[in-house]
């Protein structure tokens, strides 16, 4: 069935003439329409683009006319609702941006469109990417295809639900502190958070600018490599984007196979802090099985002490909230999006617009951010968190000088029940306990599907590498997929 194939398989089918782009896109559209009729639909998309089939037909015509030099011509991708696609609505799952149409495309979208890809639709998410369960969405939650009473994770929950639920072959998500890897782990997908700077942030709605990165969700490491290669590269419109070359990923885009990494001699560090005594038994069991597999393939897996990691969630929530409070100041009702009616004065208009437009979690983080930046508290919170971040960068770099990878569970639990944490922000924040350090340290990190719980819930394992070593992560994940991932 088309909707169960990986992007690379679809690509092969198109190349061999066994499939058309219209067939592919129609299959995903039909799956979306069928799902929408269900009693508990996945809620993966907030909008499925009506014209996607027409775009696919145009791609088929180009292919027939022999104009198929775009490497991903006619292949579809789902796009998180915080990445701008020119001419399409964009809301970040917030009432605040109701009615907003993107007047330009993000650089990543521009590059994927140039490579021939077709955006299928906008995927559900936690409002402004703040959340770990996709429940803080003005559209209502997305659901986990493995168990619809559970969360697909967040904030890129819609993207994960779409790929895992057969509504898209691959999807763009975004990360500030684990928003791609956590949903990948909860939904049994491969999820890549690239190094800070690998993908341009231009046209990604900012949350925590020093942490944000567009990420990818897919069914195989190769699928991620292909899309990553098409989107990566220095962007003059983003000063923080890097001029790094990814030749192995580029080769996959050009048609080569993603090489599997030989684990013999591979040095892997497991921070003791990320495998605590109280780690949930099923997560622990899946993780241990992965470690045994890696060792059996010749890797040196060493438990190390990295106590600074215990500070990562705390400093993450200070720094991300601080940057968010500033980044979200622009949503004020003056120029676009929601404007509260019946306000008597300018400041009343601001107040009402922002109270009506933002959900509770976004308001909470704006308040935290303003607090930690305010005079009198700046030194105790923001400044200290910056100092600890610098220390964390150094400590993690020290570990990665000796080890090629840092290995840990992606999340402390499998997907939890919808509604179980939505009233307990601290419990929700702890879903990110293993993921945020990679964002803080600017490193690439990949979650791979490592196994299932007894209830059949996916559990992920996370590989974090040296900065710009995305190809190492993808190749290691490919080894797992070929040798163990299926078992």
């Amino acid at each position: 069935m088309i909707t169960e194939l990986s992007l690379s398989e679809l690509r092969g089918g198109l190349r061999r003439g066994e499939l058309t782009s219209a067939e592919i896109v129609s299959a995903f559209r039909d799956a979306y329409l069928a799902d929408a009729k269900k009693e508990e639909p996945l809620g993966a998309y907030v909008e499925f683009f009506d014209d996607s089939v027409a775009l696919a037909e145009r791609a088929d015509e180009a292919r027939r006319a022999g104009e198929a030099d775009a490497p991903l011509l006619g292949l579809p991708i789902a796009v998180k609702d915080n990445i701008l696609v020119k001419g399409r609505a964009l809301t970040c799952a917030s009432r605040m941006l109701r009615g907003f149409t993107a007047p330009y495309s993000s650089t990543v979208i521009d590059r994927l469109l140039a490579a021939g890809m077709i955006p299928l639709g906008r995927t559900n998410m936690d409002e402004f990417a703040m959340g770990s369960s996709c429940e803080y969405s003005c559209y209502g939650p997305a659901r986990n295809p493995a168990d619809r009473t559970r969360t697909p994770g967040g904030s890129s929950g819609g993207s994960a639900a779409a790929v895992a639920g057969g509504l898209a072959p691959v999807a763009l998500g975004s990360e500030t502190g684990g928003s791609v890897r956590l949903p990948a782990s909860f939904c049994g997908l491969y999820g890549l958070k690239p190094s800070y700077g690998s993908l341009s942030r231009y046209g990604l709605v900012a949350f925590g600018s020093s942490l944000d990165q567009i990420g990818l969700l897919g069914r195989s490491p190769e699928d991620l490599a292909v899309v990553f290669a098409a989107a990566a590269g220095r962007d003059p419109r983003d000063e923080t984007s890097a001029a790094t070359d990814f030749p192995a990923a580029r080769a996959v885009l050009d048609g080569a196979e993603l090489p599997a990494r030989d684990f013999r001699g591979l040095k892997i560090a497991v921070p003791r802090e990320f495998v605590p005594e109280g780690l949930e038994a099923e997560v622990s069991a899946v993780f241990d099985r992965f470690v045994r597999w890696a060792r059996s393939r010749g890797a040196f897996v060493e438990i190390i002490d990295l106590p600074i990691l215990e500070a990562s969630v705390a400093i993450y929530y200070i720094l991300a909230a601080a940057e968010a409070s500033s980044n979200l100041a622009r949503y004020d009702g003056v120029r676009y999006g929601l404007r509260a009616k019946e306000a008597g004065t300018l400041f009343e208009m601001y107040e009402r617009t922002r109270s009506e437009g933002f959900g509770e979690e976004v308001r909470r983080r704006i308040l935290i951010g303003n607090f930690v930046l305010s005079s009198g508290y700046y030194d105790a919170y923001y400044k200290k968190a910056q100092a600890v971040r610098a220390l964390l960068l150094r400590e993690v770099a020290r570990v990665l000088a000796e080890h090629e990878l840092i290995l840990s569970p992606t999340a402390p639990t499998p997907a939890f029940k919808l509604g179980s944490k939505v009233r307990d922000p601290l419990a929700m924040y702890l879903s990110d306990v293993y993921t945020t350090f990679a964002n803080l340290a600017l490193l690439p990190s990949l979650s791979l599907p490592a196994g299932l719980s007894r209830e059949g819930l996916p559990i992920g394992v996370q590989l974090t590498g040296r900065r710009f070593a995305e190809e190492t992560l993808l190749s290691c994940a490919e080894t797992w997929r070929r040798e163990g991932g299926g078992g």
């Binding site: 990445i83 701008l84 964009l90 970040c92 941006l97 907003f100 993107a102 007047p103 330009y104 993000s106 942030r201 231009y202 046209g203 990604l204 709605v205 900012a206 925590g208 600018s209 020093s210 003059p236 419109r237 983003d238 000063e239 923080t240 601080a322 940057e323 409070s325 500033s326 979200l328 100041a329 622009r330 004020d332 003056v334 120029r335 676009y336 300018l346 601001y350 303003n370 930046l373 305010s374 005079s375 700046y378 923001y382």
Partner: protein
């Protein structure tokens, strides 16, 4: 100069005025500070905007190299230390003309620190605290015909600005005006800014308070920041008003800086008064933090040295040198130094000239006239400086008269041709050859017997008339001194 000599006394209160300035200057760069939009004043509202300067979701700033270079040049001109590493910060506040909800500015690592500006012919120096880079905001428009609505024009949004902060070193309204004038002179001279206060490309806020001396005791009145001073006259008037107001307030309430803190007052141009806008309690907390979208900037010393050579001699020093070296008046020197290009043009034209003062006169009258008429800068003027030198030398050496020189100049300025070429083509060079002049004189005398008789009868005006006829006959080309001598000799029968 000792501080005590700057003290004033009024009704038995001995006090001194303490003023510090924050000057905002818009840069004359091609693009805005953080996007590719054209940087220009005015225009149809919201016609020069893009996702970046409108602060649309997802847009990111990219710093303009011209902004950084302009800031370095300014710092060098003010004797500042140029930072080796500088960074941008976000200044967070909410206003409809600020589309991101924050201004990209600099907080704790400004690009330039320290320095001084001399005022009063070098008799006093005002310390510079810092120079930093930031972006301008848009403009709110409140139209009379739309009482229930306000509009915002974002064209100005993202215009590159420098904020120049002085030490509280000024002791009178006049010194404050002199300081801002000095900043303007330097910025114009270096072509960093046109510093047009009416268009807002130079804006000044002043912090002012009084130091009250009561015997051995010293009190400070609350500091007031005055905003909205849109002309030099306004700066002076606002500071004078504020001095009087603070003095009266001290007399009646004896409020001190320690007790009250700082407040902000706006100057009302019509009433000539300052009006309270904000007290210390209402002051904004800008929640500065490093701008994560822009990378810290490392400023290489090679760049600084390259830009230092572009700064060269500063206007005050150049003014004095031009006066001494070329014998120019205060006014001429001041006007020539109004821009680096203008003074450069003068010096090139003057070098090797027999009469630099005449060169200055020509530049200040004829050349400036052409520039004004055409609305162009000296850099686009058709004639290079050596052409002007040649023209002035042609007058000095008697090749053409001053009157003909003006015609030659008009053609030079229009065509860019060399003056010698124009003189040759149009046969304008003076007749100095005695034989030729004599023939002209003879023919004039033959044709004007009555005037000759009048002259010999002692009527002097007849000589002027005959001389006029000589010039007419020669189509203006007769060397007037030689011709007059020959005419008189002939009439006097020699």
């Amino acid at each position: 100069m000792s501080a005590s000599s700057l003290n004033r006394t009024l009704d038995g209160i001995e006090y001194e005025i303490v003023v510090g300035c924050e000057v905002h200057v818009q840069l004359l760069t091609k693009t805005k500070a953080f996007c590719a939009c054209e940087n220009r004043f005015g225009g149809i509202p919201n016609s020069r905007v893009c996702p970046v300067c409108l602060g649309l979701p997802g847009a990111l700033p990219v710093v303009s190299a011209a902004l950084v270079e302009g800031a370095i040049i300014t710092g060098l001109a003010l004797g500042s230390r140029v930072a080796e590493i500088t960074k941008f910060d976000r200044k967070n506040y909410v206003y409809p003309d600020l589309p991101k909800g924050y201004q990209i500015s600099q907080y704790d690592l400004p690009i330039c620190v320290g320095g001084a500006l001399e005022i009063a012919e070098g008799a006093r120096a005002v310390g510079i605290t810092r120079v930093h880079m930031e972006e301008d905001a848009g403009k709110s428009l409140h139209l009379e015909e739309a009482a229930n609505a306000s509009y915002v024009d974002f064209n100005r949004c993202g215009t590159p600005l420098l904020e120049i902060v002085s030490e509280p070193d000024m002791r009178s309204p006049e010194e404050a005006v002199a300081f801002v004038e000095g900043i303007r002179e330097i910025m114009r001279y270096l072509e960093i800014s046109d510093c047009n206060m009416e268009e807002g490309s130079l804006r000044c806020d002043a912090n002012v308070n009084l130091r009250i001396h009561e015997g051995e005791k010293l009190f400070a009145t609350p500091i007031v920041e005055i905003k909205n001073m849109n002309s030099f006259r306004a700066i002076r008037a606002a500071l004078e008003f504020e001095t009087d107001r603070q003095l009266a307030e001290w007399r009646s309430e004896r409020l001190t800086l320690e007790a009250v803190g700082k407040s902000t007052r706006g100057f009302n141009d019509e009433t000539g008064e300052t009006v309270l806008q904000r007290t210390k309690e209402a002051a904004s907390d800008y929640r500065y933090f490093p701008e994560p979208d822009l990378r810290p900037i490392e400023i290489g010393r090679e760049l600084v040295e390259k830009l230092r050579s572009r700064v060269g001699e500063l206007p005050a020093a150049k003014r004095e040198r031009l006066k001494a070296q070329y014998g120019l008046s205060d006014f001429d020197a001041q006007t020539l130094v109004s821009s680096k290009a203008m003074s450069g043009y003068f010096e090139e034209a003057a070098s090797g000239s027999r009469d630099p003062k005449k060169i200055a006169n020509w530049i200040l009258t004829e050349v400036r006239g052409v520039l004004n008429d055409r609305g162009i800068e000296i850099t686009s003027f058709a004639s290079p400086p050596e052409h002007l030198r040649e023209l002035v030398d042609s007058i000095e050496s008697g090749i053409i008269s001053g009157k003909i020189a003006k015609d030659v100049f008009a053609e030079m300025a229009a065509s860019g041709k060399r003056p010698s070429e124009i003189i040759r083509e149009r046969g304008l060079s003076q007749i100095a050859d005695e034989g030729e002049l004599r023939r002209v004189v003879e023919s004039v005398i033959a044709a004007n017997e009555k005037s000759v008789t009048d002259y010999r009868a002692g009527r002097d005006h007849a000589l002027k008339y005959l001389m006029g006829q000589v010039m007419k006959e020669s189509r203006g080309r007769a060397n007037p001194i030689a011709a007059a001598r020959l005419l008189e000799e002939r009439l006097n029968g020699r």
